[in-house]
Symmetry: D3
Subunit: 268 residues, 6 copies
């Protein structure tokens, strides 16, 4: 490897294809909806979306790097492609990487963004390390869902940015099989389509992509769901029979409505 | 999805096949044997059963949700089958589920039971969530071994019920590919046959199914094993050579017998 | 299984092939280099080796048993082979095992050694348990990287020896599919060649095998890298633009050189 | 292994659990529907069922042993379970096997039956060999779909019974990990539920399980489909544009209706 | 499913995202180079590209549907994305599909094109069936490399279009998990980057993507290689020692040059 | 890549480790036993060995390249190891390869040898191509069992050497991840231990490794087995009940003995 000083800092990542690719401008998810989504678990979001006819929303593969992780935010997307030395490769490591979609997307992070990354679940690609996550955090990034691995895990954990990934590896992002290709484009992450500006809800169960156009309906439906589950939980703790209170039957639904009315009256 | 109130709570899960299927009555594992099994690790149980000629006892796949988990109990079994919309599906979510083997088996839980679940290691099926585990705990359930995933992991962890599973997912039990089919029947969990009333020993190494008819012989053999291992551990700490004391040779066995006699004498 | 006393302690593991196989004497990694390697992460080692033309150094599969694990040491190697009852098997469990390469290699452990084990990622083989790790620790062993599983995980965790493995299992080392065959030989662990006396650097990102002949060059290159990353981290925290300081451009490299000179002056 | 003569031919496969398990009597698929199904490909059956709301019908894993295989028939089911030496094992090979569900189900084969087998895709289990397939053929069996492997492949190919399986192996049915457990019961084959008496349609695309209660509707829908595809094929060969004739648009549908009327007139 | 006549043939595949996506115009591979490439095997192309510094060119996964398949052509690309009901799904099967990238790309096929398809190796997606391959063939398409499955395999085989795929399935293209999204865009097929207009060389060894800009150099290098291998083959048949003639040593290279000169002289 | 002429033909494959490694001299399997083994299928060999207490003999992974393949021979072994550029790599392709264990072992082939290769099932390694198989055939090699892939499949098929492999690839033997390391050593192929001089029996069911020391006993046992199966086949064709004649009961065994005596009398 060349020493750190004899570098050509103007290396474009590719002469064969204009890189990085940037998709069209997009609208971030509505702040108010994101706030209301805060109380909703990934599991409830996923179940409700399924009931609303959208069945493929749970990102397969990535798991929370830290137990107890949780994030809600607007999706920012990044797409890797297979590396090919005549187009783009990581031979010069960061000296090429700095001109790629990976560096570029980080410059567009806005507070609350969740970066969602298509990396094909590669076990050889450490998409993010300490320095990049540090920079992501400084710009206000809220979380990262990567269908691939991360590196510098010990240091990354200290930064406290919630991350969902398929594991850790000592490899850097373009060391082996993949190369950062495009951002602000539709991506496939863990078998799920994610458009820029979709809502991401992720916790210990995994990450769920909520289509932007379905978010409001979901929030309204899910709030009711979370409420009656609180009531059911109470009754089960008191010794009630499961099928009477979970889910609510017409009878227990009526009972719940009365209970909630009382609760609301008390709180006023 | 229909709103929560327009439900038909009498939906039978299937008109094509009488569900849920319930197996014959069975005898739970002997309480005294369970108590003696408490001191025996999954590893020792598995090794001893292998020595006794039963070689396929370690459930492949499920791992402890929490480090340090441990349970011994009598097996209660539940079996999922692939979902098929003309027979049984989860389209109406809990409103159908409440009439399935999943709800049914929970009503039969007795204190100390370990629920063992055949779910084919499905990555799309969250067999248990917060409400079900909560109910299981309230009925005295001791632990769950599921060859599949769970959901609501954050809340489930708080409940403290030891669980072995193949991961977490936001999906509910019958959201995608499987449906709760039968209980109190022989099942295949992680490549191991489990009959109702077998003994389950699970810890950080994984779950072992001890055939009910082999449990007493195992306990007796394993108690001796755990005892001489204590002695070997002592000698190794004192600097002895591994192959002299692990496993015991005839010489060190004799030495151990004397040591144990002394220990017993001291304790009297 | 025979009872613990009717054993033939002189069972040779095999009459068909002279076991255990021991490779030629080898030189352990240089102590001074190991000391300097202490400050270098697995990720930096792996990236630098890649830059130096050695691309296959990160052991695929094994992960740290405990978050926060870290070790640097000289590689001691152990190789399993598939079990075959006419050559060598674990039917008599430890009474045969004690004459195998597994017991033998433990007798050769020197302080600081890292044991690297070829076990084909087997999910059925618990290569090490409490007693063996205990003995390994007593002899000063620094860590274990095993392309296979371990058993007695709860007790092993308490011992505090850093271990990288592919999981846990209740099976003992020769219970099922593999048998300890050779030591002090070149091995294939997680797709990486490891020669006796190579340097192992392992942390939360995984384990990296540093060829002995590349260790000095790596150390020198990596120390500079770790230094300028400290500087970059500082600048990024102050709000600098990522691509100006990570990696260093010619400009920021010059700035860094001045900064380091000042730091060094201050420390004197 | 004992010689062939010192056998106990009355060995029941298990003293722990009454084996083999036989499910309730069932009705075979209607002969007339089976005949009409003959013209329908697995692909058309699967697509139409999906359109009818049954989405999980294509058996994942098993492929045709011979290119050009094709079968339609009524499902006869067989279920393997994990082997456990205290319950049932293959140590005595065929001398135990002859009392199992595998031998038993073969005695119930009727002409035209397709045997569908749950064997968990095991790579270690050769569910059928030359002798069993030979017997199956003699009784008029039409085909076998096994989510597992077969043995004696060279001889089995000569018999000409169409078989879908996950591969070949030298192992016999109960040599290693599984044991024949039950027949005439609902099974899970390649992720698909199969009830006794369902219709099996299998060809080079794989095997599809058609629910008995959906077969008539499917046949009617599919016959029309196969007909208009013939017409589309004709038009495409003549140079028409794909989206004008595949699938039919309202215009080309009308054209097709006229064409078919003409064809029918000509045939009279 | 609706009957074939009550269809809305103007369904756009998506109101949420403008589909299908079409990439920029591209140049097809040079016809003369394609002609010269005809004599070069996939193995030689892959080895030579590796020697030229391009290491990731062999598409992993897809294999030849028919033994003896072989194609050389200019790449036409098609990309699937995960299905999401709010964006695009296959519920109405072909009535939606006809407006997708799958139908669209087929209208752009030119004689000699090889269609390369990104379908993530999905086992649930039959990207092409009889009708589509038929149409592809009619337009002069030379071959198909699909990192996914096909359906109607029996009929497709009869068409004689060489196809590399990961298997067969009864599912149609958008029946389950994927949806045709874009064409004329860079794609990732079996871990390899393919740009529109690259050269595809595929045979029984699999498919190799030759970067357009490397094709000429490759052809020249490979022609020499194929020539001297003919000579080596001759010598080995005559009984020569392998390492003297494969590969050529300086001595045998000189011998080969003389032999070739003679051959050329004879041919004039 | 350098042109074919500027090569250093004396490159030793490694300066770090003395390559190739060659194991000790070994005895080939007995010719008479090999001849008698000719009538025995892989399935019968595997079943009988299991009955004789050797349970792990069927090589997992490799399948016959051509349907109808069959070989019996004495095992010659070759072992690959992961490639590491400082030790040994394929950068210079055949110019290095010719000094490796791959070329070396081919020079030791004797008529009737079956080459068994440990290549970890790698999908990136084409262990053998046209030229090497051609040379192998010329030296009288009988077959190849490789736990990895081959290349030049079209030409290799024409050579007619029976080959069991895990697939095909355009990659050459040391192009990517592995390097030929040793020969005449014990190897692990598809989870099975193979010693030099063991007997290999391979057919459409796969390859079985028969321990040299067990071959005679196996032959004797298997010959009887093949004989009575002929008788059983006859009876089944005549309409007998499966469990009466497969396997033989004491009654049908007696009947068989008489039948065989008659047959023998007739043949004299």
């Amino acid at each position: 490897m060349h020493t750190d000083t004899d570098i050509d800092t103007d290396i474009s990542p590719s002469s064969v294809w204009p890189l990085p690719v940037r998709g069209d401008a997009f609208e971030r998810a509505d702040a108010d909806i994101l706030r209301r989504m805060d109380a909703i678990s990934a599991a409830t979001a996923c179940a409700k979306l399924n009931g609303m006819g959208v069945s493929r929303t749970a990102v397969q593969g990535p798991t929370a790097l830290e137990v107890g992780s949780r994030v809600v935010g607007s999706a920012l997307t990044l797409q890797f492609m297979p590396q090919r030395e005549d187009v783009a490769s990581g031979l010069g490591q960061e000296y090429v990487e700095r001109n790629t979609a990976l560096w570029a997307v980080l410059e567009t992070v806005q507070p609350g963004d969740v970066l969602v990354v298509q990396a094909y679940g590669s076990q050889f690609t450490g998409c993010f390390g300490d320095m990049l996550v540090r920079y992501f955090k400084r710009r206000g990034g809220a979380g990262i869902v990567v269908d691939g691995r991360i590196r510098d895990a010990a240091r990354v954990r200290e930064l406290g940015v919630p991350i969902w990934c398929t594991g850790t590896t000592p490899h850097y992002a373009s060391q082996t099989d993949l190369f950062p290709w495009a951002y602000d484009v539709p991506i496939a992450a863990g078998g799920v389509l994610c458009l820029p500006g979709d809502v991401v809800v992720a916790d210990d169960d995994g990450a769920v992509i909520v289509p932007a156009g379905k978010a409001l309906e979901l929030v309204e439906d899910a709030e009711d769901h979370e409420n009656w589950e609180d009531f059911s939980r109470l009754r089960l703790e008191e010794g009630a029979r499961l099928s009477d209170y979970y889910p609510l039957s017409p009878n227990s639904r009526a009972e719940y409505e009365r209970w909630r009315a009382e609760q609301n009256a008390l709180q006023r």
